[in-house]
Symmetry: D2
C-alpha cells in the first residue's frame, strides 16, 4: 500500500511569484521557514502501524503539511478573492472570515476581497444578492459575534452559473466555508474550472458542528458547541433534582455522529445516559434503557439524559403510528420527544411518579460566538487556507491532524463521516463518566 | 378611604422576648435602628395622589416597613423553623434558602432548621420525604446553583395533614417559597393554625419568574430571567441575519403578564416585535402583524420576534382544527409554534422565501443561578422574612415597594396578577425600542 | 419649606412644534399619554414625611416626571444633535449612545447626529478630532460592547471654545455622558449659552460607576459593576480556601461612596469583611479589624475582604513613610496594598502563618458591556433624555427616582455625592451578610 | 538510538489480580479492549522522522499507551488511595479530584480515599491537617468550582516523614496534582518507597497553567486560562480605544514559557504586541518596540499589549535602580509595570500624549472553574491515572501525546520546560495575528 500518493493535492500550475512574506529557509535564525512541498504528517501514531510499514515495506499514510510557500502561483497584487459561507450556523464562521480577510490583506496584500451573500445563492446573479467588500475595517470586530456576516443558505446551485459568476467577477480564489454538501459543491466547481482550463483556486474550510469530518482531529466550532451545551446540562440537572424522580432530556446536535453529545457528557459528569447515532440500544427488556433508568431513579431520584439528534432512529419504525403530529413527520423524527413519550408511558404503566423536562437548545448552540480555543483554531485554519490558496493549490480543504495543520483533497473528506469508535478509548470514557451500562 | 388599614399584618400575639441583635433606638449613633411597628411606606409616589389625599382628607395607601423588631414573639433559643419551596424553578430559590438559614442561625441563634423536600408533598408523611437538616455548612455554597436543593412539586395537599405535620415536628415558623398557588396554600395553613389556636407563623416569599405579583416592585429571579434570555436573543438575531428573510421567534415565559418578554426586548434592542398576554393583536389585515413583518423583511431582510407564552390566546380558537398533534393540545397552546405556522403559510402564499427558526429556552432560564442583583435581592428578602417571622407576624409576604422592603398580608397579593399597563411608560419603552406599530 | 420649586428645570423658551410621535391625551385608549409639565414624583416615600407635610402645610419634595411632551421647542426636521462621552469607562455608555441615536432618528426624525470624539477635547478644534456621523447602521451593534465608540478623555476644556464649536457646527442639542466634572462642565456650557442667548439645549446623562449621584435611585453601569465583580469574589474565595489561613483582598471601585463594594458583598455572601469610604475603622486594638480577622481565621481558616478604593484614607497618615514606591504616591493611596502589608505584618508578629492574595480588577469591571438590566435602563434613560431635549429643557439630567424616570437640574446633582447611610437598612444588610462586627 | 526504552515506567511488581472492569480482549465485539503493555504511541509525527528511523534502522521515540489493564497489582477491595494538590491554583484541579474519586470508587470499588489537606504539608502530622474522607457525595458538585477543595501549599517537606505518614495510614496509592516541584517531590517519595521496599504507587498528574510540561500536548487548565483571559483582552481593547492614543498592557501568566500570552493573542486578534519569555526584544532603537508602538498609535490611535510575566527579564538589569518599591523586588520583577513606565517615559520625551492602562488578572484566571474542554480532559486524565495506578505502575505521570493518552516516567517531564519554538508554526501564527514585527 502506498496511501501517501492518494492524498496529493491538485495544483493550478507552476509557482512563479515570490511570496511577499519575509520568511527563512534555514533553521536556527529564529525566523519561521517556508514549508516545503514534500513535508508530510503521519496519519497513524501507533507504534503498531509503524512496525507494519517496516514489515510490509510500505510508506505510511501521510498528509501534506500546511503553511506558507516560498513561491506563489498568484500574483498577490492582482488577485481577487471571494468568501462564501453555506449551510447551518456553527460557532466560528465569522472568525474564519476575519482570519481570511486579514491574511489576504495584510500578509499578501490582496486588496479586493468579495463577500458572497447567502451561500451559493449569492453566486447566482438572478438572486440579486450583491457582493460585500471585505476590508479589515469591516471585519475587525466580527469575531465577537456568532452567526455569519455573509448570511448563508442551504441547497445546491448550478455549477455552471457559479463558475460563470466567478469568471465575470474576475475572482481568482474562492474560499468556501461549509459542510459535506458545500464541499461537494466546491469540488464540482473545481472540476468545472479544470474543464474550462481556468486559473481559479477553490478552497474548502470544513464546517460541521458535529465534528464528523473524516481523517482530521476536529472541526471548528465543535469545542464551542459542548462548551455552550455544558451550562445547559447544569440547568437540566437542576431541573432533574428539583423534582421527585425528575428526569431531564437534552437533545444535542449529531445527525450521524455523536461527538457533541458524548463530549458534553464527559465534560459535565452529571449526565447519566448518553445516546448517539453510532449506538444500538433497546428501550424495553431486562437490559433495556427503561429498566436501567428505573434503577437509577430508585437509587438517586433524578436522572439526566443526553441524546444526539440522530440517535435511536431504529425506534421510529415501531412507533411511527403512535407519535404523529399534524405536520407529518416532526415527532416521528424527534428522538428526544420519542424518549419523553416512551419514558412517560413506561413509568405510567409502572405506576411510578416522575417529572420529565425536555430541552432542545439547538440554535442557542449553533449561533453562539466561538470560544477562545475555537477562535485560535479558526484563525490558524484561515491563515493556512490562504497560504495554500496563494500557492495555487485547489480543490483542497485545510484541517488539523495530530495537532499539525494539513491540506487534504476535498474528495478525501466528503461522502464519509467520522464516527465515534464504539470500541475506542473516547467512548469508553463516556461509559466511565456516565456509569451507564456498556450495552442496553 | 383609609386603605392603610387594609394592609395590616396578622400577628400571633404579644412580643415578649428581646431581640438578640444589638441594634439601636436612636439616630446618629451609626447603628441601625429597630424598625417601629408604625413605620409605613407610601404606595403611590405621584404628586397627584398626594394632593388627592390632602383634598379628600384621606390617608394614603401604605405598606408596613420590613425590618428587625426590638421585641420578638418567639424565644429564638427554642425556635424551630422549616423551609419549603414549591412550583416551577426560578433563579434565586437557593439564595433565599441560604439567606433564611444564615439569618435564623447567625442573627437569632435558631439552630433547628428543617428543609422540607419536594414542596408541600414533603409535609405529608405518607410521601416518605424526610426533612433535611439545614445548617450553615450545608447551604454555604448553594447560592452558586440554580434550582432548589430542597426539590419542589406542584399541586395542593391536605391543609389539615400539613398542620398536623408542623405540630408533630414542633415547627414554629414555616417559610414557603412559591407562587400564587403556594401562597394561597400558605394562607390556608395559616387559617387552620388560627382555628386550632396554635403559635405557628406562616411566611410567604413570593416566587414568580413572570414578575406578576401585584403591588410590589419586582419578584426575585425576574431580572435574572431576562439577563439569561438576552444572549439567546443575540443568538436568535444571528440566526435571523444568517439567512435571507431570516425570522427568529423566541418564546419566553409570561403566562398572564409579559414582563419578561417586554424587558428582554428593551434590553436587547435587536428585537423587532414583542407579543405579550396584555396585548390585543391581529395577524391578518392591512394593519396586522404579518403585513408589518413583510414590510420589515423587505427593508432589512431579517426579523426577531419575542413572544410571551400566554400571548395571543385569542388566536387559538380559529386555528384549533388546523394545528393539532398526536398528544392533543400541545401545538394548540404553543403561540410560538402557531406564529411559526402562520408566518410560513403567509409567506408561502405570498411566494416570498423566508427561513424561520423557533427557540423555546424555557428551562434554560428557569434553572439558571441568580445574577448578582437578584442574589443581593434574595438575601435581603430572606433577612426581612426572618425578622418579620421572629416578631410573630404571620400570613404575610415580604416584598419591595418603591425600593423599600415591606410586609404585606398574603391575601393582598394572591388572586390578582400584576400586568403591564399598556398605557404606561414601560410599554411605551417597548414600542420605542422595537419600532413595532402601536397597534396591530 | 417648598423644596418643590427648587427642582424646576431651565427651558429654552415656548414650545411651538407638535411632536411627531402619535401619542394620546386621554386615558383608556391603550395609547401612552404625553407627559404633562406639572407631573411630579414624590422624593420621599415614608408615611412620616407625608404626615410632616400635612402638619406643616408644606409641599413635599418632588421631581419633574420625564417623558415625551406634546409640544416641542425644536423643529425635529431641522435639528442637529451631538453626543459626547467623558471620564472613565463605565458599562452602558454605548447603550446610551445607541439609545440616543435611535430615539433621535426614529422617534423624532433627527437625521444629523454628530459623535464628538475623546470627550470635551473633541469640541476643541485645535485637537483635530473629527466628528463621527452617527446613523442607525453605525450604532446598531454597539450595545454588545463595553467602552465607548466615541472615545473619552478627562479634564476641563475652555467653555467659550466649546460653545463656539457648537455654534459653528450648528448643534442644537448636546448630550453629555459623564460624571461630576463632566456635568459641571455641561452646566457651565449651558450658562455660557444662556449668556449668549443661544437656543442650544445641554443635557446630562449622569455616569458614575460608583452610583454616587445624589437624589436618584441608581446610575447606569452600577448594577453591571457588581455583576462583573461577583465571579471575581468567587475566585477570591477559591484562592482563600485554597491555602491554610488564606486571605483574599479584592479592591473595588468607590472613591467617595462604597455602593459597589457593599452590593458585591451582599450579592456574594462569601465576603467576610467590607470596607467603604463612609466607614470609620481601626486596624489595631481589641476591637480592631486585625483581631477580628484573626478570630475568623482561627475558626474557618480563610477570609475574603472587599475594600472600596476610597476606604480607610485615615490610615495613610501613619503609614505614609513606610509604603512608598518609585513613582511616588501609588502605594500611598492604595488601601488594598496597605491592608495587605498591615495584615502580613500583624500575622508575622503573631507568628501565625497566612497566605494573602490581592486582586485589583478595576478596568475589567469598568470596560465590561452592560448586563441586561443596565441595558434596559440605559435605553430608557436615553429615550427620556431625548424627549426632554426636544421639549427645549436644558441644563438638566435624566434619572430615576422611586422607579420613575425624572428630570433634575444639573446643579442639584453635582458637588454632592450620594453616600451609604451607615444607619440605614442597606448597610445593615451588609453587616448581616458578612457577619463583620458592627464597629471595628 | 533507541529512545523507546528510556520511557519505560517503573512498576511495583507482578500483576496478579483480575480487573473488576468487564472489558474485552477481542476487536469487533463493540466493547473496549484492555490496553496491552506493549502498546505505544509515536512521539514524532513527521514523515521525515519516520524516514530517519528507516534509514538508521532505529526505533522511533514512543510513549506507553494509557488505559485499563487486564491484570492489576492492587486488590481493589483492600486498596487505600490518597490525593494531594500542591502549588498555585489552576483551573481543573477539582475536576481531576472528582474524576479520581469516581474512577476509584465506581470502576474499581476502592472505598477508602483520603484527601490530603494543604498540599504536602498535609502529609506531615505535626501540621495537624486532618485527612478528608473523599466519597462520591462529597465530590459530586466540585467540578463547578475553581480552586481545590483540598487546599494547597507551596514548598518541599521531609520525604521520610511523608513516607512514614503513607505507611502509618496504610495508603497504597498517592495521587499528586502539582507542577515541577511537586512532581520532583513525588519522584523522591517514590525513590524512598523503593528504598524501603514498599508496595505504594506514586502517580503524578502534571499541573501547570503555563502549559510548559515537556513532551505532552497540553496540561489541564491551560485552555481555560486563555478562555478566561480573552474577555479581559476585549476589556483592554475597550480601554485602549476609549482614549486618544490609548494603550492597554495585560500581564498574563508564563514564567518560562509564553503559551498563555501567545494563545490569547491569536484567540483575540485585537492584540497588537505580545512578549514572551522565549523572545529577545529591545525597547529602544529604530527597530525596537517603542518605535513600533509609536507607528501603531499614529496609524490607529490605540494598542493592546500582552506580556507574559517572565518576558523581558533582560530589561531589569539596566532598570533595577530606577523602579524599586518598599517591599524590595516586586516592581523590579514586574515586566508589565516596567513596560508601563518605559512607554510613559518614551512618549513624554516625544511629547506625545497617551493613556496607559495596566491590567494584571492573575488570580482571576488561576482560580476560575475549568471550561468544558478542560473538564473533559481532566476527567480522562484522572481515569487514566487510576488505571495506571491500579496496575502497579509508579513514579509516572499521565499525559496526552498526539491526542492519545500516555504514561511517562516522572523524571522525563521534570527539570525541563516545554517552550514555544520561535521558529515554529505556532509562533508564526502569533506574528501573523498581531502584525508585530518579526524582530524588535
Amino acid at each position: 500500500m502506498s496511501s501517501e500518493t492518494n492524498f496529493n493535492i491538485s495544483s493550478l500550475g507552476a509557482n512563479t511569484f515570490s511570496s511577499p512574506i519575509n520568511l527563512s529557509k534555514t533553521t536556527g535564525d529564529k525566523i519561521f521557514n517556508f514549508v516545503e512541498e514534500h513535508d508530510r504528517i503521519l496519519a497513524d501514531v501507533s507504534l503498531e502501524s509503524f512496525n507494519t510499514c517496516i514489515e510490509n515495506k510500505t510508506s505510511p499514510a501521510c498528509l501534506e503539511k500546511a503553511g506558507p510557500r516560498e513561491k506563489l502561483f498568484f500574483d498577490s497584487k492582482k488577485t481577487t478573492a471571494a468568501i462564501v459561507s453555506c449551510g447551518g450556523l456553527c460557532p466560528g464562521i465569522n472568525n474564519v472570515i476575519r482570519g481570511l480577510v486579514m491574511a489576504l490583506h495584510y500578509f499578501y496584500g490582496v486588496k479586493r476581497i468579495l463577500g458572497v451573500q447567502y451561500g451559493y445563492e449569492g453566486l447566482i446573479p438572478e438572486n440579486g444578492h450583491e457582493f460585500i467588500d471585505l476590508v479589515p475595517d469591516k471585519v475587525k470586530d466580527i469575531h465577537e459575534f456568532g452567526g455569519t456576516i455573509l448570511g448563508s443558505s442551504r441547497g445546491a446551485q448550478s455549477v455552471e452559473k457559479m463558475v460563470d459568476s466567478l469568471v465575470k467577477n474576475k475572482i481568482d480564489l474562492l474560499f468556501t466555508i461549509g459542510g459535506d454538501g458545500t464541499l461537494k459543491g466546491a469540488n464540482a466547481i473545481g472540476d468545472e474550472i479544470e474543464k474550462r482550463g481556468l486559473d481559479i483556486s477553490i478552497i474548502g474550510i470544513p464546517k460541521t458542528i458535529d465534528n464528523d469530518i473524516d481523517l482530521i482531529d476536529k472541526s471548528f466550532g465543535f469545542e464551542t458547541s459542548f462548551d455552550v451545551a455544558s451550562p445547559i446540562i447544569r440547568d437540566a440537572h437542576n431541573e432533574a433534582t428539583g423534582a421527585f424522580n425528575g428526569i431531564s432530556i437534552v437533545k444535542l446536535m449529531g445527525r450521524d455522529s455523536g461527538f457533541i453529545a458524548a463530549s458534553t457528557a464527559i465534560a459535565m459528569p452529571v449526565v447519566n445516559f448518553v445516546f448517539v447515532p453510532e449506538m444500538d440500544f433497546q428501550l424495553e427488556g431486562e437490559n433495556g434503557f427503561l429498566e436501567a433508568l428505573k434503577k437509577r431513579l430508585n437509587q438517586k431520584r433524578h436522572a439526566v439524559i443526553v441524546v444526539a439528534e440522530g440517535a435511536g432512529q431504529h425506534l421510529f419504525g415501531e412507533d411511527s403510528k403512535t407519535y404523529t403530529d399534524a405536520s407529518g413527520n416532526i415527532i416521528h423524527q424527534d428522538i428526544g420527544l420519542l424518549l419523553k413519550h416512551r419514558i412517560k408511558a413506561y413509568f405510567d404503566a409502572e405506576d411510578m411518579k416522575c417529572t420529565i423536562k425536555y430541552i432542545d437548545p439547538s440554535y442557542i448552540i449553533r449561533s453562539a460566538p466561538a470560544n477562545a480555543n475555537d477562535s485560535l483554531f479558526c484563525n490558524r485554519l484561515a491563515y493556512h487556507a490562504v497560504h495554500g490558496a496563494m500557492a495555487g493549490k485547489t480543490k483542497f480543504v485545510v484541517g488539523r491532524l495530530n495537532n499539525k495543520f494539513v491540506y487534504l483533497p476535498i474528495l478525501k473528506v466528503v461522502n464519509k463521516r467520522k464516527k465515534i469508535n464504539m470500541e475506542g478509548e473516547f467512548w469508553f470514557s463516556v461509559l466511565q463518566s456516565t456509569g451507564q451500562p456498556f450495552t442496553m
